[in-house]
């Protein structure tokens, strides 16, 4: 029994050392300016040990430096889902987004189309502020704390003889129960938002939006989106084997159309 534990411990240590080594190598490659190598190493680390907000952010930075804005944006967005309030992640996302918007505008060749994503409605921005910008675990923590306090208040109500204390217990427990319900709901909403798969990033250098799935538009036709553009995925089309071949994406009312699935990274 003891031997087994020791072996397990050793194995874990080895795995840990290996992972840390990969990450360290990635970091030194990045600092030396070998960005493509850093991307490969970060990917390797993610495959062998899983991801973290920091790792994904670093992968995005390395990908950005190689010019692969699609991977960069996708990695940062994934990092953001794990750590929505992180200032660095949000900063680089908004920087790249503005850069991509400029490029999309340049691709219009004089046409005047909007390049910013759809303006969210009131409820949309509320959802964004509460569910997408706050980690689920934070809401869950608040919910649990409120519930524990709620139970305490109930105890006061049950056990106390003092009328004032019992009143406090009664109304306090009511309020705390309401808060618990709200926080737990938000925790679920945030968890759902973090696993939403209707978000995508253009990974191809440039992709022209087709009006129909399976029909790439003629040269020079169709509105062009450049790499790194964040889009919403509206629907998908699969081939006979169930592989997604084309996806319908939307940036705003000016940019709606089909693109090959290979040109999109789905989050």
């Amino acid at each position: 029994m003891k031997l087994k534990t020791t072996i397990l411990c050793l194995l874990l240590c080895v795995a840990d050392a290996f992972g840390a080594d990969t990450l360290q190598r990635a970091e030194s490659a990045y600092n030396a300016g070998r960005y493509a190598e850093a991307v490969a190493l970060y990917n390797e680390a993610a495959e062998s040990e899983g991801t973290s907000a920091g790792l994904l952010y670093n992968l995005g930075n390395a990908a950005y430096q190689t010019g692969d804005y699609g991977t960069a944006m996708a990695s940062w967005l994934r990092a953001r889902r794990l750590k929505p309030a992180d200032a660095n992640i949000n900063h680089n996302i908004s920087y790249l987004q503005s850069k991509v918007e400029d490029q999309n505008k340049a691709e219009q060749r004089g046409r005047r189309l909007a390049v910013t994503p759809d303006e969210p409605s009131f409820f949309g921005s509320l959802h964004r502020a509460l569910a997408e910008n706050v980690a689920s675990d934070r809401w869950a923590g608040w919910g649990a704390a409120c519930f524990v306090l709620f139970v305490g208040m109930v105890a006061l109500y049950i056990f106390s003889r003092n009328v004032a204390v019992r009143k406090t217990g009664f109304f306090g427990s009511m309020g705390l129960l309401t808060l618990t319900v709200i926080f737990v709901t938000l925790a679920f909403m945030s968890a759902r938002a973090a696993e939403a798969n209707d978000e995508g990033v253009v990974s191809a250098f440039k992709v022209a939006l087709a009006t129909e799935a399976g029909k790439a538009p003629a040269q020079g036709k169709g509105h062009v989106l450049t790499k790194g553009t964040r889009v919403r995925i509206l629907s998908e089309e699969s081939d006979a084997e169930g592989n997604v071949t084309w996806v319908k994406v939307r940036l705003n009312s000016d940019y709606i159309g089909w693109v090959p699935a290979s040109d999109i990274i789905q989050l």
Binding site: G19, S52, N61, S136, A140, I158, S190, A194
Partner: protein
């Protein structure tokens, strides 16, 4: 009829007049043009003969083209004039000034006319060879479709059959017809331009001109005009589109009574112009590194009204490219690379303002570039070079927009905060943290819910325990109540012992504790709540007789008084003891009665 006869008898002087008319729609006569000499023969029976020779021109036709009679009656005297017009149709052949006539008609002699034949009419625009179609490539000859048979056809022209990539060419469709009236011209589709970018020009000819093809005179008009830009080198083909033309075909006949008459007959024709091939050359190699993509003739200017700025305040510089050619495809060089890094310049949005003219696309493209001074100091905005290809000279040419020296003063806030607040890529790596495969939120994991389950379980457990405790506690009080009499007696015994030992203070203490204790146990009240008021109220509630209660209170008063005021006669101690025993007995009796009453009810 009668009047006519009368008038004829009274004929006025007969005459013959010659008159020169240039061709329809023209003022001057040029070589190759048709012109006319009319003979107006008034009040004469004779007809003019066809002249054998007209200087500088070739005789085409000689025909009677009109007759006119007029009557006038003045003071009862009626005069009649009748004139017949003959028209000599001529084609000008040689430049010069010539005279013709006089001619002899019957016994009348006409006047003399002078006319000048100028140069052949120039085509309206260079590269629009509508003047001499005979010279065209025989393969590119017009197609006759429908009932055209040479009375109506379309001819496609391109300004140059050999051109550079992106060079502006003019493609026109010319309609040639001998029909009098064209009612409708409609195209079923646009011409097919393979490998061209096309701009349709609205500048078509509304005025008819005349030209001769194979000795036949046609009215001609440009009905479509396109400015086309070849996009790739090679032989590019333009396929003509089909037009539907509705015309009035006029048929002439001679009526014995009315003379020459004509009727018009509607006719619909489908006509297609000839196809054309343009030989497109690639732009000369090597292309300059900073080639802007423009082919044509351009000029770039820059406008910066103010040269003093403040940090963090956006400013605007305007670059305007004017000229002719493929304006829409002109690109500015990368300004971000040219500008000093302290001036951050944003990608401009081109604003194309071009009009499609007769021969080219001309206008301007405006690039409104905004830039943001990030630091204080003096900086130079460099001159911006635009390199384009001029197909006329066949060379790459450069036009320069002038640069500016700008001064940037301090704006609001410090420089540091501006560069920080300004968006730029943050290359610093973050802590990797501990990577995990599953990032399941807490709400999807069971342990989290223990925070909810455990407090509830604890609360439930505690309340169950508390209930049990309360119950047990209640039992304890009942026992105490039952044993109250026994306890009281025990204490009274102690009091009696103290009395025998002459210890007055102890005696009263024991007496008081016996009485209070008895009442407290009996009423299940904690000692803290034992006051005279509480006790008497509770006793009365339990149905104890008022007398017994006042006896108890009186005894308590007596004991307390005696306890705190010593020196009383010791004889009263035994009296108090007896009273105490009696009070407790009577209270016991009262409680028993009350319990009986309660159980009866």
């Amino acid at each position: 009829m009668l009047l006519c006869m009368l008038g004829a008898a009274d004929a006025s002087a007969a005459s013959v007049r010659l008159n020169v008319q240039s061709g329809r729609g023209r003022r001057e006569i040029g070589v190759g043009d048709l012109f006319y000499i009319t003979y107006e023969v008034t009040d004469a029976d004779a007809s003019p003969t066809r002249p054998t020779d007209v200087p500088g021109a070739k005789i085409m036709y000689f025909d009677q083209t009109g007759s006119m009679s007029s009557f006038s009656s003045v003071n009862g005297r009626t005069t009649q004039t009748s004139s017949i017009t003959w028209t000599l149709t001529l084609r000008a052949q040689k430049e010069g000034t010539y005279t013709f006539g006089p001619v002899q008609v019957g016994n009348l002699k006409s006047n003399q006319v002078t006319y000048t034949i100028g140069q052949a009419a120039q085509p309206q625009a260079p590269g629009q060879p509508q003047a001499d179609p005979q010279r065209q490539d025989p393969n590119a000859g017009p197609k006759f479709i429908g009932k055209g048979d040479g009375n109506l056809y379309l001819k496609a022209n391109v300004s140059r059959t050999s051109a550079y990539e992106q060079e502006a060419l003019v493609y026109t469709v010319q309609l040639l017809t001998t029909y009098d009236a064209i009612k409708f011209i409609g195209a079923t589709s646009a011409p097919k331009f393979d490998g061209f970018v096309v701009e349709e020009s609205k500048d078509t000819d509304t005025q008819l001109s005349y030209e001769t093809v194979n000795g036949k005179t046609y009215a001609s008009a440009i009905i479509a005009r396109y400015i086309i830009f070849p996009q790739m080198p090679g032989k590019l083909k333009i396929t003509g589109n089909t037009y539907t033309v509705s015309v009035d075909a006029r048929e002439y006949y001679h009526d014995p009574f009315w003379g020459n008459m004509s009727v018009s007959k509607p006719l619909q024709l489908n006509v297609t112009p000839n196809d054309l091939t343009v030989d497109v050359k690639a732009l000369p190699f090597p292309k300059p590194a900073d080639f802007s993509g423009g082919v044509g003739e351009f000029k770039i200017t820059s406008t910066l009204p103010n040269q003093v700025f403040k940090t963090n305040q956006a400013a605007q510089i305007v670059y305007q490219v004017t000229g002719t050619g493929n304006l829409k495809y002109v690109k500015l060089p990368d300004l971000a690379a040219l500008y000093p890094p302290q001036l951050e310049v944003y990608t401009p949005v081109p604003d194309v303002n071009a009009t499609v003219g007769r021969n080219n696309v001309e206008g301007s493209v405006r690039f409104d570039c905004s830039f943001m001074p990030l630091e204080e100091g003096e900086f130079a905005i460099p001159s911006v070079k635009l390199t384009y290809f001029n197909p006329r000279s066949g060379k790459y040419e450069t036009t320069v927009a002038k640069g500016y020296d700008v001064t940037v003063g301090k704006g609001k806030g410090s420089d540091k905060s501006q560069t920080k607040g300004h968006l730029s890529f943050n290359p610093a790596l973050a802590e990797n943290g501990t990577p995990q495969f599953a990032h399941t939120p807490w709400v999807y994991r069971f342990p989290y819910w223990l925070f909810y389950i455990l407090p509830v379980l604890i609360l439930a457990g505690v309340s169950v325990y508390y209930r049990a405790y309360l119950k047990a506690n209640a039992d304890l009080l009942a026992v105490k109540s039952r044993k109250a009499n026994k306890m009281a007696r025990m204490r009274l015994r102690k009091a009696a012992a103290a009395m025998k030992g002459n210890d007055a203070v102890k005696f009263y203490d024991e007496m008081l504790s016996a009485l209070w204790g008895y009442v407290g146990d009996k009423l299940k009240m904690p000692p803290s709540e034992l006051t005279r008021q509480n006790v008497s109220g509770q006793l009365l509630q339990h149905g104890v007789d008022r007398e017994a209660v006042s006896a108890l209170i009186g005894l308590l008063d007596e004991c307390e008084f005696a306890k705190y005021a010593p020196g009383q006669a010791s004889g009263s101690e035994s009296g108090i003891y007896d009273k105490g025993v009696e009070t407790i007995n009577s209270l016991e009796e009262e409680f028993r009665k009350a319990r009986k009453n309660a159980s009866k009810q």
